[in-house]
Amino acid sequence: MTRKSGAATGSLKPSENGKHVMIEKSNERILEVKELSVSYKTLHVLFDVSLEIQTGEVVVVVGRNGAGKTTLFRTVAGFLKQDSGTILFKGEDIGHLPSYEVALKGLKYIQQDKHVFADLTVRENLELGSYATKDYDWDRVLEHFPKLKTLMDRKGGNLSGGERQMLLMAQSLLGKPELVLMDEPTEGLAPHVIEDLKGAFKKISEQSTLVIIEQNLPLTAEVAHRVYAMKEGKIVAEVADKKEIQDLAFEKYL
């Protein structure tokens, strides 16, 4: 079940129009988490969690509520500090960095709560994404979410759940992050919206490595290259075989 990652092969290459940076799935490790333990004061939540993410992969982390998935993401994103263990992003230890520095290094985290800035328009929300990263190439981002082009002057608070999720993803893609962590992006969304997002995941995964927390198992089976199953603060399984993923073999570990 456990997979060993291989040597770095170098996988970044410019696209034909020179605008996008398409990435290929490779053995280069973009993220390595080693024996990570995290507590909320006296409550121990993660126990020696280790995982590896290779460039270009779409990895899905599954697990029941309270398994520690969000804590894992928040720690990797720099919002929580680990008790022990290391977090390497592109070989660099980021475990001690504040969350904004982690984001500027190219690791973006999209929270579960779908909170956009409600008082700001879609345009202003995107401007905030651009201002921090100095990336004003909205065309590249909005091609994944064409609907947002028609909502530019609408306040974030007046968007539907799906539109909010699109805005959050668009905002996070500014700055061309190499790794995007998405925490339950489809939670509470209608099936047709999830279908739209599924297409967006595929397009985004051509430009960034994706790690997604997802409870929607059929969707997981469709988009995941690899699946980590978490239970009670530990990684209990890693499923890399596409056939096993499609058969939802990881369900038995939950």
Binding site: Y100, K108, L120, L128, G129
Partner: protein, 324 residues
């Protein structure tokens, strides 16, 4: 050109209205200058409270920093009014840079209370500890020491009025820019969800520090204008009890909006002026009005005007469509 006019239109209209009011009500010129100065003070608080969601119970301290910087210079050191204003701005900047890193680490009630404590200490400082310089409760008087300034003689109230108009015009242009800029958006964003801003790559500490420092500079500017306009400063300007009026005026106008501070000041000082001619305890009327605003008009005067304007516009559109 069109973009420039968008920044100039509102501030220019505001200043023109005040100038017209001056000629219609010549005996209210002092009141109009007070509104102008107080508006700048409220804008300072609005950056902190309206935009960034940080309530401070110590705003008179920052007003006092500017007022005493100008007053001490004019009473003891020099005679140049423009240097006095520049000194006040510098002291505001220094206060923001020094106090900011410590204060903005605190949130909510702790931030409000540390400002109240600082304000109380500031009052004690100018009243007792710095008595040889500030002359305590007697205050500093320096009008006769002030030299004439070129173009506009700021010692003369009618010419200070024009100076106040120029300052208000410049501050309002800057404030309009701030409201529409990424900086303004980032201020509003950290009020709503600071963690999300961090995940986007923002050092929210620096953003709050920037906002806090801007607040200090603007409040010091307002304090300096008070000091020059009256030619006198005493410790009552830094009294912690006066912190409430800043918050009330901000709320009355509509927190976090470009014209809210002006309308809030107008409503607050106007009511004070009007009610105090009939009864001595004008605070009761302001209190009742504040309660009504809190419950029924959360957008304040400016927010209500905007809502009414939007309703009228949408009705106009609807009737035009039905006519066609």
């Amino acid at each position: 050109m069109d973009k420039l006019s968008r920044y100039l239109r509102g501030p220019l209209t505001l200043v023109v209205l005040i100038v017209i009011a001056r000629y219609f009500f010549p005996n209210k010129m002092t009141f109009l200058v007070e509104i102008t100065t107080f508006s700048i003070y409220i804008i300072a608080n609005d950056i902190l409270y309206g935009y960034m969601g940080m309530v401070s119970f110590g705003q008179p301290f920052y007003l006092g920093v500017g007022a005493y910087a100008s007053a001490i210079y004019l009473a003891h050191i020099g005679n140049n009014i423009l240097v006095a204003i520049a000194l006040a701005l510098l002291m505001g900047l220094i206060a923001g840079l020094i106090l900011g890193p410590a204060f903005i680490r605190l949130r909510g009630d702790y931030f409000a209370l540390i400002n109240a404590a600082t304000c109380a200490m500031g009052l004690f400082l100018v009243e007792k500890i710095l008595y040889p310089i500030t002359r305590g409760d007697d205050g500093l008087w320096y009008r006769s020491r002030m030299h004439a300034t070129p173009l506009l003689d700021l010692r003369k109230p009618d010419q200070f009025f024009w100076f106040a108009m120029i300052v208000l015009f410049v501050v309002m242009i800057w404030y309009t820019w701030l409201d529409r800029s990424a900086m303004g958006a980032s201020f509003r964003a950290i009020k709503v969800n600071e963690n999300k801003m961090k995940f986007l790559g923002y050092d929210t500490f620096k953003i709050r520090w920037t906002g806090y420092t801007l607040m200090c500079i603007l409040a010091a500017l307002a304090g300096s204008m008070y000091a020059i306009n009256y030619g006198f400063v005493n410790p009552s300007i830094t009294e912690p009890a006066r912190a409430a009026e800043v918050l009330v005026a901000t709320l009355l106008g509509g927190a976090g909006s470009v014209y809210g501070p002006f309308f809030g000041t107008f409503a607050f000082l106007g009511l004070k002026d009007l009610v105090s001619t009939f009864v001595s305890r004008w605070e009761l009327a302001v209190g009742v009005l504040t309660i009504i605003v809190c419950f029924k008009f959360s957008g304040g005067v400016w927010g209500t005007i905007q809502t009414m304007g939007a309703k009228i516009r949408s009705r106009g559109k609807a009737s035009a469509q039905s006519a066609t």
